[in-house]
Each structure stands twice: as structure tokens, then as C-alpha cells.
């Protein structure tokens, strides 16, 4: 992969940083299967891509708009359970179900977001947390629809009689979804909306003075983040063939926030690095057995103490500092 990074065109000096990020993500997704020894690695990478998709979305809300959500996994849950419930209980095929789930997620975000975004700081955080817990509670309690705490199976996707299964297939599906998600996020960042959001992050008062509609913008970021999460949830459920309420749990929400902050708020590549670390690290740490939780906690602390901007921006800063 270092080769891959090195072989990207020499003309990139003239490329915009955003294009470099996109090309980089595309190259990584394209090259990894060539070096993976088994399907297990494809599986882990697919998980990084799906988590990454949700984290890229959450990063728009946190990094750009500066708003923290402690209930983001709820939207993942909506997407995941849509593809589970649609085919099983309503007779809707998986793909329309997924689209309906994503739309529903956007609608819920819009309805919930309107009152919630009048709150600020930790109060916003606890309101999103409450929303997330309520949704998780419904998923756990309404067993007739959701299978309860043990979850429910998800029908396999069939396209023109072809059953979509296999690690490599899902690697490409999730990888392409991630690339599209990254491209859209980078575009949004550069758009007038993105600039307005950034202005909002720096100073809400100043932004509103120059005519930025703060409430509306935050709501937009929230809805977009919800769409990313629901897409990620739907992909995860279809790939696994099974969903449990864990998908929407508080701990999962915290995990997403941690991914954003560890990778580096406001950085799309950072979001992916954050996702990669929290998904892949526990796999690498299995050798530690009993000590895994403690070491993971320790690593999170160390990362945040020494790279408080997050890994990607932090390392860039360190590198620049060294060159000077």
C-alpha cells in the first residue's frame, strides 16, 4: 500500500487536496484485495468500509458543524432493521427496503433534529443520547417485529436470480459505497453549505451576522449524517444476514464518536483512519486475551494525549513541525 501511495501520479502537486484524498481512498480500496491472504481480511476491511461510511457522515456533523451526537447508532439501527423488517414482515424486497430505511432515517433526523438543535453543547449530546436509547429500547422490546434482544435474520439480496453473497462481493459493494460517500462528503465540504458550516463551527455569532442560518445548517448536517449512518447500517445488515439491537446501542454511538475524534475531526481521511483503528485493532489485539480491553483503553488515551487534534491532523502537524 505504501507502493500505491507512492505511485499516485507525480502531477498531484497541482491537484487539490480533496482530489488526493479521493484518489487515495480509491487506490486503497482497489489494491487491498491483491495483498489479502484470506477472506477473513476482506471481512475486516468490509467492516472498516461500512463503519467508515457512518463515521465520514458523523464527521460532517462533528467536524464541520461542530455538533456532537451521542445517539448516532440509532440511524444505523434504522437502516439495518429496515432491510430486516421490510422483506420479512412487509414483503418488500431488500433493496427498496434499504432505500425506504435511508429515507425514513432522514425523515426521523429532520423531525427529531428540529427541536434538538435548539440545544447546545452537552445538552445536545444528552438529547441525542436519549433519542438513541429510546430507539434501541423499541428495537429490543418489540420482539414481534424485531426479534427482540437476540435480533433477527436478514434475507439475502437477490439480483436477477443471483444471490449476493461472498466476502469479495461484499468487499466491493461496501468499498464502492465508501468511495461514493467520501466523494460526496468532500464535495459537500467544498460547497457553499460546507463553507457556511465551517464558519458556524468557528463562531456561530459571527456566522449569523453574515447571514448564515445556523439552525437550518445544523439540521442539514444532521440529516446528511443520518443518511450516511442508515446506508452503513443497511449494508452491514445485508452483509451479515443478521441484525441485533447492539447495532443501535449507546456503546456503538460512543464508538463512532471515538472514531471521529481519534482519526481527527474535520478530516475525511481521518474519519477512515479512526474507523480502521477501532475495527482492526481489536482483531490484532486478540493475542492479548484478557488484557485486550485495558490495552485498547490505554491506546485511546495515549492517542488523544499526544495527538489531541486526532491522528491525521496531529501527524501532519508533527511532520510540519519537524520540517521547520
Amino acid at each position: 500500500m505504501t507502493d500505491a501511495a507512492a505511485t499516485s501520479p507525480p502531477s498531484r502537486r497541482t491537484w487539490s487536496p480533496r482530489l488526493v484524498s479521493l484518489v487515495f481512498v480509491t487506490v486503497v480500496v482497489a489494491v487491498l484485495p491483491l495483498v489479502f491472504p484470506s477472506n477473513y481480511y476482506l471481512r475486516v476491511a468490509s467492516l472498516v468500509w461500512t463503519s467508515g461510511l457512518a463515521v465520514v457522515g458523523l464527521n460532517l456533523l462533528m467536524g464541520l458543524a461542530g455538533q456532537v451526537s451521542l445517539g448516532h447508532a440509532a440511524f444505523l439501527g434504522i437502516g439495518a432493521y429496515a432491510v430486516a423488517i421490510g422483506p420479512t414482515h412487509l414483503g418488500v424486497p431488500p433493496i427498496p427496503s434499504a432505500l425506504a430505511g435511508i429515507a425514513l432515517s432522514a425523515l426521523v433526523a429532520w423531525i427529531v433534529g428540529k427541536p434538538i438543535f435548539r440545544l447546545k453543547g452537552y445538552y445536545l449530546a444528552v438529547a441525542t443520547l436519549g433519542f438513541g436509547l429510546l430507539l434501541a429500547l423499541v428495537l429490543t422490546s418489540e420482539s414481534a417485529w424485531t426479534g427482540g434482544p437476540d435480533g433477527m435474520p436478514v434475507e439475502r439480496v437477490e439480483l436477477f436470480g443471483w444471490r449476493v453473497t461472498g466476502a469479495l462481493t461484499w468487499y466491493w459493494i461496501t468499498g464502492v459505497a465508501l468511495i461514493i460517500g467520501v466523494a460526496l462528503a468532500l464535495n459537500l465540504e467544498a460547497s457553499p453549505t460546507g463553507r457556511a458550516l465551517r464558519a458556524l463551527h468557528d463562531s456561530e455569532v459571527a456566522a449569523s451576522v453574515v447571514g448564515v442560518d445556523a439552525a437550518r445548517l445544523k439540521l442539514t448536517a444532521f440529516v446528511v449524517a443520518a443518511v450516511y449512518a442508515a446506508t452503513s447500517g443497511a449494508l452491514l445488515a445485508l452483509m451479515n444476514g443478521f441484525v441485533t439491537p447492539d447495532t443501535a446501542s449507546f456503546m456503538h454511538s460512543v464508538e463512532f464518536v471515538t472514531m471521529v475524534v481519534i482519526g481527527g475531526m474535520g478530516s475525511v481521511v481521518g474519519a477512515l483512519v479512526g474507523a480502521a483503528i477501532l475495527v482492526a485493532l481489536p482483531q490484532a489485539l486478540t493475542v492479548l486475551q484478557e488484557y485486550e480491553t485495558a490495552v485498547l483503553g490505554l491506546l485511546i488515551m495515549v492517542f488523544m494525549i499526544f495527538l489531541r487534534q486526532g491522528i491525521v491532523p496531529g501527524l501532519i502537524g508533527l511532520f510540519r513541525g519537524m520540517r521547520r
Binding site: 427541536p115 444528552v126 489531541r308
Partner: protein
């Protein structure tokens, strides 16, 4: 009537535990703007250390004191090794550090202790006290009394002692506090130490009722944080009222409406309160810092 009273007893007992955790949140938040997600783990350290010391034959009161001191040391170390080196980082970064700390403490606890549930004997017996047809365990009085004592002590500390006033000054204006010669790092360390001791005390008092386990911290953090927000972050009175209210809503919700959606009622109540009073019941101070 008996039914109503029974629900109230249940809610107050559970609520007092939430209130103690919320008080711990409040203190650290006041001194540093940090929401300490390892707060619930102090409760676990208090309970589990007492259980394991008691099992080796240490008398219960001594075991409890050692357990609380252990938690204080952990709290001070948390401040010294993790929060202090990251001084000046954004609150979100600091929160993630405390989340990492929580995982670390939990990870160590499952090795040092074990992964099973544990209990402690009630301090003054198991014979329920009957009041108008409802029953109350003597241990509930310990928890309620402990909550009240901590609240009063904390209030006296903040309002009547020089150090306490320094904490409040630091909370109000860090730069100003530094200018008048307050060592804000020491104040922060004191806040972590006291906060840890409150959490651990909650763990000691509640374990005979609630039982304890290495990962009890997660749920305690969640409920304590919710209680603190309901009351209004930064207000000790808010923390106590928020905690008790949360417990009561859960108990009455489970008793009169539906036990399935018990936890749902508390969060619906929090959302409603926040929509009407965006800074919680007693929160006045601006919190635009995330």
C-alpha cells in the same frame, strides 16, 4: 397508597445512587468543563474493592475506607497522567480520554477482580421496615442518608472553605482565577479526588442493594450523566434533584405504566424538560463549549 409509597421508596433509593454519581460529574465539570465518562467506574471500584477486601477478612468499615481511598488514588492518577498532560485540548478530546480511561479501568478490573456478580451484607440487617403497608430496607436509608450527607458536605465545601471557593472561581473564570493566584491544576486534582471518593462511596452504600460487577460503571455513567443534565450541568442541587427525579420517574413509570419501557420514560422526561428549559432544571451557566 401502599402501592404509591412502595414505588416512591424504590424510586428514591435508586435515585439517590444516581444523585451521588451526578454530584461527582458536577464537581469535575465545574472545575474543568469535562464530562468524566469514567465517573461510573469509581462506583464500581468502591463496590468491588470493598467486596474483595471484605472477603479476605478485612472488617467492613475498614474495607470501605480502603476502597474509597483506592478510588481517590485512581482519580488522582487519572487527572495526573491523562487529563493534565492534555491540558488545553478541546472538551471533546478530553471526553474521549475519559472514555479511554473508563475502558482501561474496566479492563484492569476484570483481571484484578473477576467477571462475576458480587454482593455485600447490608449494614444494619435485612429486616424490612414497614411504613403504611409499604416496605423499605434499612440499607435504603443508608443510601439516602449518604446522598444527603455528601450533598451537604459538598455545599459546605464549595461555599464555606477557601479551596471550595477556589473551585467555584476556577469554574467561573479560569484565567481570572489564575490571575488572583489560584493554582488551577491543584484545584482540578482536588476535584478529581473528591469526585472519585463520592462515586466510590455510592458504590459501597449501594452494593448491598444493587449488587456489583466489573462493568457496572457503564450504566452508572449513563444514568448519572442523564441525571446531571436533567438537573442542569454544574449545579449540585440540580444533580441531587435530577438523580432523585430520574429514579422516581423510573419507579412510577414501571409501576403505573409499563415496565418494558421503564428506561424510556426517564429519557422522554429529559427530552421534554430540555425542550422547555434548554439548560436543565437548575442550570444557569452557559455551556456552549463542546
Amino acid at each position: 397508597m401502599a402501592e404509591f409509597l412502595q414505588f416512591a421508596f424504590s424510586g428514591l433509593t435508586v435515585g439517590a445512587v444516581y444523585a451521588l454519581v451526578a454530584l461527582g460529574f458536577t464537581l469535575i465539570y465545574n472545575a474543568s468543563d469535562v464530562v468524566n465518562f469514567a465517573q461510573g467506574d469509581f462506583v464500581m471500584i468502591g463496590g468491588m474493592s470493598t467486596v474483595f477486601l471484605y472477603a479476605t477478612g478485612v472488617p467492613l468499615p475498614l474495607a470501605a475506607i480502603i476502597a474509597i481511598l483506592t478510588a481517590v488514588i485512581v482519580g488522582l492518577l487519572l487527572h495526573r497522567l491523562a487529563i493534565e498532560p492534555a491540558r488545553g485540548a478541546s472538551p471533546v478530546t478530553l471526553i474521549i480520554i475519559t472514555i479511554g480511561a473508563s475502558m482501561f479501568i474496566r479492563g484492569v478490573a476484570q483481571i484484578v477482580f473477576d467477571k462475576q456478580f458480587h454482593q455485600l451484607p447490608a449494614f444494619s440487617g435485612d429486616r424490612p421496615i414497614e411504613i403504611l403497608g409499604a416496605t423499605l430496607l434499612p440499607q435504603s436509608l443508608w443510601v439516602l442518608g449518604g446522598g444527603l450527607a455528601v450533598f451537604v458536605a459538598l455545599w459546605l465545601f464549595l461555599e464555606r472553605t477557601l479551596i471550595g471557593k477556589a473551585v467555584l472561581a476556577t469554574a467561573a473564570n479560569r484565567l481570572g482565577a489564575r490571575l488572583v493566584g489560584i493554582n488551577t491544576a491543584v484545584i482540578l486534582a482536588i476535584a478529581f479526588g473528591v469526585s472519585a471518593s463520592i462515586g466510590a462511596l455510592a458504590g459501597v452504600l449501594a452494593t448491598p442493594i444493587t449488587l456489583t460487577r466489573f462493568d457496572l460503571g457503564t450504566i452508572m455513567t449513563l444514568k448519572g450523566f442523564a441525571a446531571a443534565m436533567l438537573g442542569g450541568m454544574g449545579s449540585p442541587l440540580g444533580a441531587v434533584v435530577g438523580g432523585l427525579l430520574l429514579g422516581l420517574i423510573e419507579a412510577f413509570g414501571a409501576g403505573y405504566i409499563s415496565s418494558v419501557y421503564k428506561d424510556g420514560f426517564s429519557f422522554i422526561a429529559i427530552l421534554v424538560v430540555l425542550f422547555v428549559m434548554p439548560r436543565g432544571l437548575f442550570g444557569g451557566r452557559s455551556v456552549e463549549r463542546v
